[in-house]
Amino acid sequence: MVELAPSAPGHRPPPHPDGEPLVELSDLSTGYERTPVLRNVDFTLRRGEFAGVVGPSGSGKTTLLRAIAGQTRRFAGAIKATPRAGERALRLGYVPQVEAINWNFPLTVGQAVLLGRWREMGWRPWPRRHDRELLANILDRLGIGHLANRQIRALSGGQQQRTFLARALIGDPDLLLLDEPTSGVDIKTRHEIMHLLGELNRAGTTILMSTHDLNAVATHLPRLVCVGEGALIADGSPEDVLTPEVLRRTYGAEMLVLRRGDAIYVVEHLDDAMTGESEETPLPATPVGG
């Protein structure tokens, strides 16, 4: 591990706000058909939190999200959710990976977003005035108000994410689950999406997202959960979680962690860093083991 400067207290909000538990996974083993993908998971998400799930491909990040969404088979343990008063289940806003969406499906942005409100729209196939007003509000809020009649396949990467974020938000969810929302988008769009999610969280939305992007996304989140080989390896603030030891156990590879003030950088290509081929580092590095 390389530490460039003593880690200063970050500006991120505390990882465990004092909200009531929204979802509690206790000793959960879950997966698909006959195969558990995640084993013995203990995890609690409180109302108002913004947490990220990191780990290598196939480690169980999406399975963790899908388990909370009730889409996996439970082999052992329990999932407890606390819905709002008067409701039987949590209201979920699920944003799948863009790769999983059928972009050739004949849907406009407005039609796609209104699917997230199918229950509230009553028996009619068509939206009422209130639904249309709500749709206009949510699209305007996400900066895609002018795209309501555009085909979903004619959208840019950022517009695609915003569309499916709008579908998740229009149902007034208790919990927003996002599967790799910054995958395959450019730097500017990634920044805009993260800014938008931060705003939503500050407005009270609980968010759990998976990401493979350690430096540009994970290090900026208040709370991180590391998943590796079907188990929860670590859970806490990025300062606590992003250590070479945890990263080695999560990814099965050696990585360097550089700290400067409250900023954290994970050097994923250790060979490059050790041979001086890495990006220029702002301060001399001091090896501290790991």
Binding site: L107, Q111, G116
Partner: protein, 290 residues
């Protein structure tokens, strides 16, 4: 002029034309969901399977409609059960079960050679042999399909677009799929006498695919597919009278011709985008200003 109205003096012809129109509308509308879920093969398979059911019900002396309905629903449930095994997959499950059901029908016919002629209608359609009882069944299935589509428009749309995500938003996906399977089986049974097992798949697939080439809106695609299906049924049967060709084959060939025209139009539009009315107008206006 008298020649053109000649066929209308025969009640059996009028009945056949009404039946072909209603079946065209029914298959066109139901086919939208079949095509968008990439299940074109199931229409083909189910029609052949239900042919087996028709033979079994004839041999065992029960009503064709009751026997074929039970057989159709049983086949769909069996396909769903087999397809759930990941190492088999949906297309292979359809291939195995429907061809076995068809083979059972063929085996029974060959064992009882004297039945062979009676099943020509089920295989190739016998539109001019439609009875008022058949018309009642076709009308009833059309009303059932319309009621299901109207009442479950949003659930069907969400499930067709993305069944995994639909269930995270609370859509009862297994029930919606079971209901759709029932409507599909009923559609195939009602269409068997008109088009025959060999041509039903075409009526389920061609009008929706043609409509998809002409529009990017789901609602318009649905309406266009029903319209194209109904119109080709009406015109196809009428034309078949004069050219002395099998009615079912004429209907399907007409649908094929409409598809070819739509495809040519779509190709021209994508190769020469400037030929679109909007771009052409803009170009003319631009030239005038310059």
């Amino acid at each position: 002029m008298g020649d053109l109205t000649d066929p209308f003096q025969f009640e059996f012809f009028v009945r056949g034309m009404v039946a072909a129109t209603l079946v065209g509308v029914l298959c066109g509308a139901v086919g939208v969901y079949v095509v968008l879920r990439s299940l074109a093969y199931i229409g083909h398979g189910l029609a052949h399977s239900i042919f087996g059911g028709a033979v079994v019900s004839f041999v065992s002396g029960i009503s064709f409609y009751i026997g074929a309905t039970l057989w159709g629903v049983f086949t769909v449930l069996l396909i769903n059960a087999v397809a759930r095994r990941r190492q088999i997959g949906g297309d292979a499950a359809i291939g195995i079960i429907t061809t076995c059901a068809f083979a059972l029908g063929v085996a029974l016919i060959s064992r009882h050679g004297q039945f062979t002629r009676d099943f020509d209608a089920a295989l190739f359609g016998e539109i001019l042999g439609i009875t008022s009882g058949d018309l009642t069944v076709i009308g009833g299935v059309l009303v059932l399909a319309a009621a299901v589509v109207f009442a479950f428009w949003k659930q069907l749309l969400f499930t067709t677009f993305d069944s995994d995500v639909a269930s995270t938003y609370g859509v009862p996906v297994p029930w919606v799929e079971a209901l759709f399977s029932l409507v599909l089986a009923a559609t195939v049974i009602a269409s068997l006498q008109v088009l025959g097992a060999t041509l039903i798949a075409a009526a389920l697939v061609i009008p929706p695919v043609t409509a998809r080439l002409l529009t990017d809106s789901f609602t318009r695609m649905f309406a266009l597919a029903a319209l194209l299906g109904g119109a080709s049924g009406l015109v196809g049967v009428y034309v078949s009278w004069f050219i002395n060709v099998s009615s079912g084959a004429t209907v399907v060939l007409l649908q094929g011709a409409l598809f070819a025209v739509a495809l040519a139009w779509a190709v021209a539009r994508s190769r020469w985008p400037g030929t679109g009315s909007g771009e052409r107008l803009a170009a003319i206006e631009g030239a005038a200003i310059d």
